[in-house]
Chain length 436, copies 2
Amino acid sequence: MWGIVLKPVKVGICGLGTVGSGTFNILRNNAEEITRRVGRSIVVEQIAARQVNPTCDTTGINTTSDIFDVANNPEVDIVVELIGGTTVALELVMTAIENGKHVVTANKALIAVHGNEIFAKAQEKGVMVAFEAAVAGGIPIIKSLREGLSANKIEWLAGIINGTGNFIMTEMSEKGRAFDDVLKEAQALGYAEADPTFDVEGIDAAHKLTILASIAYGIPLQFEKTYTEGISRITAEDVSFAKEMGYAIKHLGIARRTSAGVELRVHPTLISQKTLLANVNGVMNAVMVKGDAVGPTLTYGAGAGAMPTGSSVVADIIDVARTLTADPTNRVPHLAFQPEQLSDVSMLPIEEVECGFFLNMKIQDRAGVLANITQILSNNGISIESVIQREGTDLVPLVVMTHDVKERNMNVAIAAIEALPDVAGSVQRIRVENLA
Amino acid sequence: MWGIVLKPVKVGICGLGTVGSGTFNILRNNAEEITRRVGRSIVVEQIAARQVNPTCDTTGINTTSDIFDVANNPEVDIVVELIGGTTVALELVMTAIENGKHVVTANKALIAVHGNEIFAKAQEKGVMVAFEAAVAGGIPIIKSLREGLSANKIEWLAGIINGTGNFIMTEMSEKGRAFDDVLKEAQALGYAEADPTFDVEGIDAAHKLTILASIAYGIPLQFEKTYTEGISRITAEDVSFAKEMGYAIKHLGIARRTSAGVELRVHPTLISQKTLLANVNGVMNAVMVKGDAVGPTLTYGAGAGAMPTGSSVVADIIDVARTLTADPTNRVPHLAFQPEQLSDVSMLPIEEVECGFFLNMKIQDRAGVLANITQILSNNGISIESVIQREGTDLVPLVVMTHDVKERNMNVAIAAIEALPDVAGSVQRIRVENLA
């Protein structure tokens, strides 16, 4: 039964950009080790690319400019979708599945938005769709969550899952720089796109969080229900006051199961500087998962880049190669739970979410102002953990850190505070989490 | 093909101590979620225990005091070995395999010392032996290394893989306490055994490192070739000087592939306080893995305890349940690489290992002493990175941090330094690693 030489597994790579080139070069460079692991070789049968990538030596490989050639190639066992986007990519993936081919993809938007439809079709056809590379680049978080922690009820997860955002928050924290200034550098370094909306407004993180939450809780993908807030309104002053209180501000994706429903939210968050997560800096990613049995865990690594993301794509190819002949019933389900066992637990609107708040406002340095503000908070059932008040001649900053309170109550309190004549402009509000 | 109700998988649990009770209670408490994941239920068919565990309600379960009843029970699909030790446990595991049963174990000593023999028998019989819980408790590091990072050539790995040792090093660092003092507290808290040798002298860590290295490099288990050094000789002064230089002292297990062979070593190690690993405190564990494609990664979590270790045991049971009907050729191999593809690369003796050194000695506060010492280092090709010298009236401490040098050269240099009349007693030497 052992030692039989199995025939090679043939992959077709669609897209030879950053991730495509990483994937191709890993399959080439590490071919010998991969064969030693899998017991059969993994061969690139065909490549579809609009142009040559100078980092890839594709000599002798069947190359086409039409990705559908790959999806329709009878020689190809696994179609690797690395073209990005959600229109042509969807068509490509559905065609591949329809043709009975397995699919590996790094496309977070595609899975977050069209995953339910894709997995239903894959189930019907008995093929696998693997997407480790869609979340947190090289970190094997999908595998950890879906298999490594499969004994657990997941209580919550919280991740730094966008490297661009974390680079910006790290620079702001370490060097006291302003958001716009760091963003410009990130664009010059190639970490951020010319239009940075996708990264800094949290849409990319929301795609990834949607996928993680579905796997954690066995719920259908619900990207449209994710609360999303970016980091562009965070000031150097916020970062500095947070630091003074012992906190870092990180852009987190958070999913939590409560008795009232599942929270699904991306927003800037104050976390204690003593946590490992607060010490994840630069473009690196990390995801904390709290399971009922295992307790808190953290996984850290590169969240993007050709080789790290290629590492996850190739690991998926190896996984698929290993289960090619397995009874589909025994494969790890796409969303960790058997498809007929997915739960319809409701998502909690952000107004119902409870957490602490960091409030930063400008007030007239006048007797009675602080008393008015604390009275408003108290009237809304909000207790104060700490306060920083600066003295001055005119407008001075007041920073208040609160204990946990429902967002709905905080909204009422903030509206009342902003209506006070001695409070100038709007109150900056950043959520605070205790990740233990 | 989908939605068919599969028959339950029946496990027999041998040993109902800490890990056994955690495993049992997770299978009970999370039975519904586990069934939703696996698509079939996992049932405890039989328990073998010398005595009742008050945390476990075993009403109605077939219970025996003879573990071999479980290994010979025709109803049992998976034997879960949680009795510990390497004599009866070995016999139990071999009997189970001989009877065609799959095995799940948390026994690091058993795998590190007898793994080669156990895996050969398992291969012959076409069964699986799963051992995620043997390394780093609840952290799914075996799965990450063997599957999640399967695209990579592993360059090195370094881990805090003994919670007792890390608790001691953390207390020494945070509170300036002495080793003996903290050890006594660890014993009182139940973190350390009455005879703490296994933990503080690095034997337990060496078992775990042996397993990790074999999976990383596809080499047979070679516990006897692991260099092992404990933490009992580390002083509060060492910790304090290291801190002053920006370093933490951690008890690490390190495996590294070099062109000359594989390094396999457990010893106290200075690492930069800026690394995440240096900030892993208390009884928590963490393992860094550097792959050629993914770069540096880190996984963190509880390294011991009933529920965290049970989390890994149950994850293994689920994995085995999923692959029960898979062709053995396509399963993930025990040591990550196909058994006939294991490599016979040689282990590097500690004398051949290169790293930086932290030297702490007492010298006469006299002109020319430092010059003599630096001359000796220089004669042996050792360059100095930094020095701390304290002034005083009699014997004063001198701390030297060196750049990377082969241990063989350092041995010669230290012998020469210790022979100087102005150097009192022996030179404390602690290795320094740059984990980036």
